[in-house]
């Protein structure tokens, strides 16, 4: 087994959740890395869709922006942005929406809008983009972000997109029929909503990670499953493919 970073196991673990049959709406950054790693390893037939309108794209490097030229050049087809959101996302054609976030709470509600009050923010974040409708119109949602006390908060400053609201039944009460967040992958662990309460629960710790370190990086009283799995470590092949992808990406974007 190779040495690997905590970001690498996060990306590899997220990638493993995807299959050839998935039609995946891909966010930029960590989601994009995980989705393309899946495509370059065990799920070559996966359909990746970026909100710029590119359907079934196969970039050789990770795009810096949601609309890099290679996304279009390697796509099956590129549609207008109104069509992407109307026919494909709202149309219910997406099996998995893959999101990152600045803040997440115990019910996998996400904030990418502001830190502080909306009208007088201490930090104005970029905003929701596609997230509000990805969260409700995809079959299910996978979330990937690093686990820190700043990010895993007891109360979001702003609910950009709904996860499980305040618990079981909240999505249904809003008329939402999709599953919502079913997996949260961090650099420390895998969390899933409890079947009864929908509260996020740690189900697997990455190798070498302690319960204590996960608790210390979470801003609420985090629940753990009665029996915890250990996340399988990245394989040599997964790491090689991911590192080659990252190296190609750095070279392509003019970074050292």
């Amino acid at each position: 087994m190779s040495h690997y970073t905590s970001t690498e196991i996060m990306t590899v673990t997220a990638a493993r959740l995807l299959s050839n049959a998935d039609v995946c709406f891909v966010g930029i950054g960590a989601p994009s890395a995980a989705c393309n790693l899946a495509r370059l390893t065990h799920a070559p037939g996966i359909t990746l869709i970026y909100e710029s309108g590119t359907i079934a794209t196969r970039p050789s490097v990770l795009p810096l922006s949601i609309g890099d030229g290679e996304l279009c050049e390697t796509a099956l087809a590129t549609v207008s942005v109104p069509e992407m959101f109307a026919y494909w996302l709202q149309g219910g054609r997406i099996t998995v929406g893959f999101l990152g976030a600045a803040q997440i709470d115990a019910y996998a509600n996400l904030n990418t809008t502001v830190v502080g009050p909306y009208d007088k923010p201490t930090t104005r974040l970029p905003g929701g983009g596609g997230a509000p409708e990805i969260a409700t119109n995809c079959g299910e949602v996978f979330i990937i972000l690093k686990q820190t006390k700043r990010g895993f908060v007891d109360k979001l400053d702003f609910v950009t997109s709904i996860g499980h609201g305040r618990g079981k039944g909240d999505r249904e009460r809003l008329g939402v029929t999709t599953k919502g967040p079913t997996q949260v992958i961090t650099d420390l662990a895998i969390l899933r909503p409890d079947p009864e309460t929908r509260e996020l629960t740690v189900v697997s710790l990455h190798p070498g990670v302690t319960r204590q370190s996960v608790v210390e990086n979470t801003g609420w009283a985090l629940k753990f499953a009665p029996t915890l799995d250990e996340t399988p470590a990245p394989t040599v092949e997964e790491l090689e493919v991911l590192r080659a992808l990252q190296a190609r990406t750095r070279a392509a974007h003019g970074q050292a």
């Binding site: 950054g29 909100e51 949601i66 207008s80 959101f85 930090t123 970074q255």
Partner: protein, 288 residues
């Protein structure tokens, strides 16, 4: 019928003080050259509209030209914050700015509704999303058949739309290829429109695919040839996105003085011809 004007004349004609203006482009084909000309013309009190305001709006807002920003995602894609936009929102510098914030799905539907001459758009959206609480423009209608309640947003109907495209022909017909975004909708939703293009060709008819994205000249106010006019964004088939520039912008834009100096040197003292080398460099690279 589209008129062929200089960039300066076209911008004066299309973008006026106090206008609501959409400079559109979803990462691709962002109309930087036209935007810089509008900055040089020192337009004021603009209501800027764009799904994905990035560096160009960072520059305009940093120059204090905008009274309002309507958007759904604002930042430097893949890099981080749009620092000038942040400073305007967080600290009101160089002037306070009103924001009207939507989701992408809502903005895209609002442009399409504008192009279709409808007063509002309906979407299965904003469920459980707090934007619906803070943005009074988000309302709802009840489906007359199912009783379901759906979100609505007002149409986007800007005074002016400004876009960049690959080609125009002698009738002013415009071809957009690749990631086409919401540019066609922006032009059709607007009262006046300006399209800058990489190159002029004789006739687009028969020169491309039957179902290509073409905006007829009679639906456009002004067309201007500006090679390289989308740099540091890109023009599919002409030159790639300059991702290094986007990464480098982070440092420039963090600091008020560095930003001001950059704008003075690269925008205020330049003209549209400054964009041509970006197109030529790409052509040279391609030939090499």
């Amino acid at each position: 019928m589209a008129r062929f004007l200089s960039l300066a004349d076209a911008c004066e004609e299309v973008v006026r003080d106090g206008d609501s203006v959409a400079f559109e482009g979803f990462t691709h084909l962002i109309p930087y050259a036209a935007g810089h000309e509008v900055i040089r013309q020192r337009r004021r009190d603009l209501g800027l509209i764009r799904m994905t305001p990035d560096i160009l709006y960072d520059q305009m807002i940093g120059c204090g030209m905008a009274a309002k920003l309507t958007f759904s995602w604002g930042g430097n894609p893949g890099v981080g914050s749009a620092h000038r936009i942040r400073e305007a929102v967080e600290q009101g510098w160089p002037r306070p700015i009103e924001i009207e914030e939507h989701s992408h799905a809502a903005m895209a539907a609002a442009y399409a509704a504008g192009a279709a001459n409808l007063p509002f758009a309906v979407l299965r959206g904003y469920r459980g999303a707090e934007l619906a609480r803070v943005n009074p423009a988000i309302k709802s209608v009840t489906c007359p058949y199912t009783g379901e309640v759906l979100a609505t947003v007002p149409s986007v109907r800007p005074d002016a739309a400004v876009i960049h495209a690959q080609k125009a022909d002698r009738e002013g017909n415009v071809l957009i290829e690749g990631i086409i975004g919401v540019q066609k909708e922006a032009v059709l939703a607007a009262k006046r429109s300006l399209v800058t293009v990489e190159e002029m060709v004789d006739d687009l008819r028969g020169a491309t695919h039957a179902n290509a994205c073409i905006i007829p000249g009679w639906a456009i106010t002004a067309v201007v040839e500006v090679p390289g006019g989308a740099f540091p964004s890109y023009a599919h088939g002409y030159y790639p996105r300059n991702n290094a520039f986007y990464i480098g912008w982070d440092a420039i834009s963090r600091d008020r003085a560095a930003f001001a100096a950059w704008m003075e040197e690269h925008v205020m003292r330049k003209g549209p011809e400054a964009f041509a080398p970006h197109a030529r460099a790409a052509t040279a690279n391609k030939a090499a």
